[in-house]
């Protein structure tokens, strides 16, 4: 008979009451620890044994006081539930694109638990929230042992489920520049079933500029690469040449479809994803510049 095997739990479970404690626990447990917010993406991975953390650090005791405005930015604490974002009059007024997108996240149970910080940290390339945060030109506030820093969304999403957050850091806030009265937006997606992961999604923000006729456009494609993809100036060039015009929209949509190399999988072929990209880019752009 051998010595009794230690009857250990699959993971240690610790709660954090504040960000400082979460950071301390993170340092203590190191690489084996996972932070859990709403858990609506992480727990399926644990249930399927795709993730086997040594410790779970539960952020749920950290109370979120909901979105607020701060010097032209809409500040959304990381632990804000999707439900609170969806119900927030501030979000509806100042960021209707986020209000629309968050209503398409999961189902009512997922929205009741899932958080904006969790979605952003999980960095699913088909997720609605990363796509919108990037299109908005938002920034992500992260906190670590050496203090806080703010990362522009442009530099935040690196590849599949990977962000610019360091191992010892935690996402604490999402900050989005408030949209003005003259600004437009568009968001559209195709899913196999309502509430499912998006096959392809497109988010567009069109910010009017005092000095120029053409709004500043940020067009983001989701579901066609390893991360939400911000289209470059070269792809948006027809707008500079033709102005906000149906012809420019068609050309940008065509450019966008040509610029990507999506993967084929059981849900959609690469060609279908390219075609969806063209159609959804056209629709979202048209809505954003008022030609929809």
């Amino acid at each position: 008979m051998s010595a009794a095997a230690p009857n250990s739990s699959a993971f240690e479970y610790q709660t954090a009451d504040c960000w400082e404690e979460a950071i301390k626990l993170r340092a203590l447990w190191g690489e084996g620890a996972k932070l859990i917010a709403g858990g609506q993406s992480l727990v399926p991975m644990i249930n399927l044994r795709l993730a086997m953390p040594a410790a779970l650090i539960d952020l749920n005791p950290i109370v979120s006081s909901g979105p607020w405005l701060d010097q032209g930015e809409l500040v959304i604490p990381a632990m804000t539930r999707h439900r609170a974002v969806l119900d927030s009059p501030l979000v509806a007024t100042h960021f209707p694109m986020l209000a629309k997108a968050v209503g398409l996240v999961g189902n009512v149970r997922v929205r009741n638990r899932g958080t904006i910080g969790g979605s952003v940290s999980h960095a699913d390339p088909t997720g609605e929230i990363p796509c919108v945060v990037l299109a908005a030109g938002g920034r992500i506030v992260v906190q670590g042992p050496s203090g806080m820093r703010s990362v522009p969304a442009d530099d935040f999403f690196l590849t599949y489920l990977t962000t610019a957050t360091d191992l010892d850091e935690v996402v604490t806030e999402i900050r989005l520049p408030v949209a003005g009265d003259q600004d437009g937006w568009g968001f559209d997606e195709v899913t196999r079933r309502f509430s499912d992961f998006a096959t392809v999604e497109v988010a567009v923000s069109a910010r009017s500029r005092a000095s120029e006729e053409i709004p500043e456009l940020r067009v983001v494609l989701g579901g066609v690469a390893d991360r939400p993809l911000l289209l470059g100036e070269d792809i948006l060039e027809p707008f500079r040449r033709l102005g906000a015009d149906p012809q420019a929209i068609d050309e940008v949509a065509q450019n966008a479809a040509n610029s990507i190399s999506p993967e084929s999988d059981v849900h959609a072929s690469a060609d279908y994803r390219r075609r969806l990209t063209q159609v959804l880019t056209r629709r979202s752009l048209a809505q954003a510049v008022g030609l929809g």
């Binding site: 009857n7 250990s8 739990s9 699959a10 993971f11 240690e12 479970y13 858990g39 609506q40 727990v43 399926p44 644990i46 249930n47 399927l48 779970l56 539960d58 749920n60 439900r83 999961g106 189902n107 009512v108 149970r109 997922v110 009741n112 638990r113 309502f194 509430s195 499912d196």
Partner: protein
């Protein structure tokens, strides 16, 4: 290693010893013995394990039991306060043939009940939106939405005549 936890389920407190990786669904179905909380997919996309946490629907399969100590949990069997009588919403389900095999019914009923409290004048479209992710493989959903609409009508009527909030 197991952790001692206390869960408040349908108004009763339960003391359990669970492993940290035990889901709320495992604890409710296997440990406490509630057959109305059911395993469907384990990924949060089917709705059969729906329970109410502080009166909001959540996936019991995506919450660990150790996380659920500070909330009041309600399951379908907690709707009727141990009386024999069915909840009016359950009656609507029976009258409309909205329950066939019954596997999805707890999730449908609990989710609809919460929507009825928040917005009893929800449209058919809004009801369908709220029930997204509660999969039914029998009815084709039409009869379920019919039943829920009927119940919403009753709630509105009761509100206008000053009745109770059930």
């Amino acid at each position: 290693m197991k952790t001692q936890i206390f869960l408040t389920v349908n108004g009763e407190q339960h003391e359990l010893w669970v492993r940290n990786d035990r889901t709320l669904l495992d604890a409710l179905h296997d440990d406490i013995g509630l057959p109305d909380v059911r395993y469907g997919c384990g990924e949060g996309v089917c709705g059969t394990c729906t329970v109410l946490a502080d009166n909001e629907p959540i996936n019991a399969c995506l919450t660990f039991a150790v996380q659920a100590q500070d909330v009041a949990i309600q399951t379908l069997s907690g709707l009727t306060n141990a009386s024999e009588e069915l909840h009016p919403l359950q009656k609507c389900f029976l009258e409309h043939g909205a329950a066939q095999c019954g596997f999805c019914t707890p999730g449908m009923v609990l989710t609809s009940k919460v929507l009825a409290q928040r917005n009893p004048s929800a449209t058919r479209q809004e009801i369908r939106y709220e029930l997204v992710g509660n999969l039914c493989r029998c009815t084709g959903y039409t009869k379920i939405v019919d039943a829920v609409e009927e119940y919403f009508g009753q709630v509105r009527e009761q509100a206008s005549t000053g009745g109770g909030d059930r």
